[in-house]
């Protein structure tokens, strides 16, 4: 029963953190970030149902997010003009239903195959819908999008939704419920078979399951939750535009899920948090934000194929054996020079891009025309790279020592 208690504790903790966040950070700014994160979490988790759990690489997942958002915002408009009476709390459900319907339609022909064929169909559908959204301005509002006001519904528990904080508490409800359902889905026959089909669709056929149906169910579920996220977006920003369903948004959710870690349920949550924070903390301090994001993404694909969650989980074995502490010093020895290298390199990039003669960055004042600041940065980068390279073998040894099998050992693998 210990595991059951832990499980309740984990979910209870998740809910508590969600509810307590605005108590700790109560600035308008913080609430606005939390709302953004909440939307990103649901969206990224829904994407993981496709790629992480079901093995379907989609380049058009924003279609369901965007369509959900558009329907939701149209309902808001109907409420505003009193053509319809509806609860604000259920707006994300409108988004979800739209995502589900769109998922059923597209899924009916796109889930026949996984792999490249699926990826290409999703790309084609994504481009088609994005282009149509600019052509059919009646529904999509052209490049200006559609706007609706969330304050015309009946008040809910005394919340009139004038402030983003009200939206946050509503979002918490939906994020929690969506996370819970998406987690539980992975424990159902359909969810488990999605993993099986991802691993080996042929074998799944020979134990009685149609790979296509299994994919179709995951696809519809993913569309539904993407639509819920879209509905939340509509509520929070009161604006939905063609950008919400185009390739850029689809790419961003892929980035989130991948950087967070595809194979783990918690991965996309981590990815959504990291990317939202990065976007917020960095985008206004540097014009090179997207360049850094690109570098981070490519490096993640190259060196952390299982994302940040995978990186954390890599330490599970050492942790279980109580050897994690042995890694602390080597990590520090490699990490600090690496940090020096990264910071120097970033400063170099910023300096070469600077339009002002003096660049204020990371607390440093660097003169663009002074050889000294260039030399200092190059030296810093060189030193950092050198020390990192020097300490890597030590880290590797420490890693192997921490993960060395115990005396009993694993069985030999014959092949």
């Amino acid at each position: 029963m210990k595991t059951l208690a832990a499980k309740w504790g984990l979910w209870g903790g998740y809910l508590a953190v969600l509810l307590l966040l605005p108590q700790v950070f109560d600035s308008i700014l913080a609430i606005s970030i939390f709302n953004q994160m909440a939307i990103a979490i649901v969206f990224a988790l829904s994407y993981n149902m496709l790629l992480g759990q079901g093995g379907m690489l989609s380049f058009g997942h924003a279609v369901y997010f965007g369509l959900g958002g558009f329907l939701a915002v149209h309902v808001l408009r109907l409420m505003e003009f009193e053509a319809m009476y509806f609860s604000i709390a259920l707006i994300p459900l409108i988004g979800g239903l739209t995502g589900l319907l769109a998922g059923i339609f597209v899924g009916s022909f796109s889930t026949r195959k996984a792999g490249t064929v699926f990826a290409m169909i999703s790309l084609g559908i994504g481009e088609l819908v994005a282009a149509s959204s600019l052509i059919f301005t009646g529904f999509f509002g052209g490049e200006a999008g559609v706007s609706g006001d969330r304050t015309f519904g009946p008040p809910l528990f005394g919340m009139d939704f004038f402030s983003d904080t009200d939206v946050y508490y509503l979002a918490v409800f939906w994020v929690f419920v969506s996370t819970l359902f998406m987690y539980l889905f992975t424990r159902t026959p359909a969810g488990r078979m999605a993993n099986a089909v991802r691993d080996n669709p042929e074998r799944a056929e020979f134990i009685g399951y149609s790979a296509r149906w299994v994919r179709f169910i995951s696809f519809c579920a993913a569309g539904t939750f993407a639509g819920v996220a879209g509905g939340l977006f509509a509520l929070n920003y009161e604006f939905v535009t063609d950008e919400n369903l185009n390739l850029v948004t689809s790419g961003r959710v892929l980035l989130m899920a991948y950087i967070g870690g595809l194979g783990f349920f918690i991965g996309p949550i981590i990815g959504a948090i990291i990317l939202t924070l990065m976007n917020f903390l960095l985008s206004n301090y540097t014009e090179l934000f997207l360049l850094y994001l690109g570098i981070l993404f490519v490096l993640t694909v190259l060196f952390l194929p299982r994302g940040f969650a995978g990186f954390i989980m890599m330490h599970q074995a050492a942790w279980l054996r109580g050897r994690l502490h042995g890694l602390a010093l080597p990590y520090l020895l490699t990490g600090l020079p690496a940090l020096l290298f990264i910071l120097s390199a970033v400063c170099l990039l910023e300096l070469s891009h600077a339009s002002e003669p003096v660049l204020h960055f990371l607390g440093l004042s660097l003169a663009r025309d002074s050889a000294l600041s260039w030399a200092g940065l190059v030296l810093g980068a060189g030193l950092g790279a050198f020390l990192t390279a020097r300490s890597t073998p030590g880290l590797r040894r420490a890693w192997e020592a921490a993960n060395a099998p115990e005396t009993r050992g694993g069985r030999e693998r014959a092949s």
Binding site: N195, D199, A204, F206, I207, R413
Partner: protein, 250 residues
């Protein structure tokens, strides 16, 4: 009455005909082995029965029902399960999950997304029983891709028998095993297929003669002989075509 009957079965890929008119009837409860030289079409025959390939001509009937043009999952649901020559499992799922997945459809769970697997005590007990049977109870939590090869073969077998199918097709169940492992596997096969109909493709003659009560010899897509082990051993045609060299090799 035959549980499975093949009549005039043919399969060609482009101009090459691999199965050239096979007629075969398998009796309920029989342990049937198909032997033959490499490239005789043994695996293709399995693929035709299990629905991976569609026949070019001829009929396949299972308990009187035609299997023509049915997709693999339909055929499986009728009660035909199979294993593969090359290990074919779900590598990232645990050993336990692999078996449980194989049990899902036959236990009536189908595509349900409202029932939680962890709560289904009966299903989990059944999974554990299968794991006990195939001797993998101790490896239940390990990802299937990471266990030893012979264990994967046992898992492959476990997935084939898990659903309680009436007809089981085993494609070279002991390929790549050492002698002791193979002996163990034969025991296992005998135990787990008790009371069921079994068709197997196998190269190792000792195992064939140990397990099978009837043998068919497939050469270049045709069945040249079919009968009890003793008959086959005595059949001169078989000896010429195949058995002689195989036996002398062994």
């Amino acid at each position: 009455m035959s549980i499975l009957s093949l009549r005039g079965l043919r399969k060609n890929f482009g101009a090459t005909e691999i199965i050239r008119g096979v007629d075969l009837g398998i009796e309920t409860g029989e342990k049937h082995a198909i032997i033959g030289p490499n490239g005789a079409g043994k695996s293709t025959l399995f693929h035709l029965i299990s629905g991976k390939y569609a026949p070019s001509a001829g009929a396949i009937e299972f308990k009187g029902k035609s299997l023509a043009n049915l997709p693999p999952h339909h055929i499986n649901r009728l009660g035909i399960a199979r294993s593969f020559q090359v290990t074919n499992i779900f590598p990232r799922l645990s050993v336990f999950e692999n078996i449980r997945c194989a049990l899902l459809w036959p236990s009536g769970y189908h595509y349900s997304f409202w029932r939680l697997l962890d709560r289904e005590a009966g299903l989990n007990r059944e999974t554990e029983q299968v794991l006990e049977k195939i001797g993998l109870a101790g490896r239940a939590k390990i990802p299937a891709g990471e266990i030893a090869y012979s264990e994967q073969r046992a898992l492959e077998l476990g997935m084939a028998i898990a659903g309680g199918a009436e007809l089981i097709l085993l494609d070279e169940p002991v390929a790549g095993m050492s002698h002791s492992e193979a002996d163990h596997a034969v025991d296992l096969i005998r135990r787990v297929t008790e009371g069921k109909t079994l068709i197997m493709v196998e190269h190792d003659m000792n195992i064939v003669f140990e397990l099978a009560d009837r043998i068919s010899v497939l050469v270049y897509g045709e069945v040249i002989a079919s009968g009890a082990p003793a008959e086959i051993r005595a059949n001169t045609q078989v000896q010429e075509a195949y058995l002689g060299e195989a036996l002398s090799d062994a």
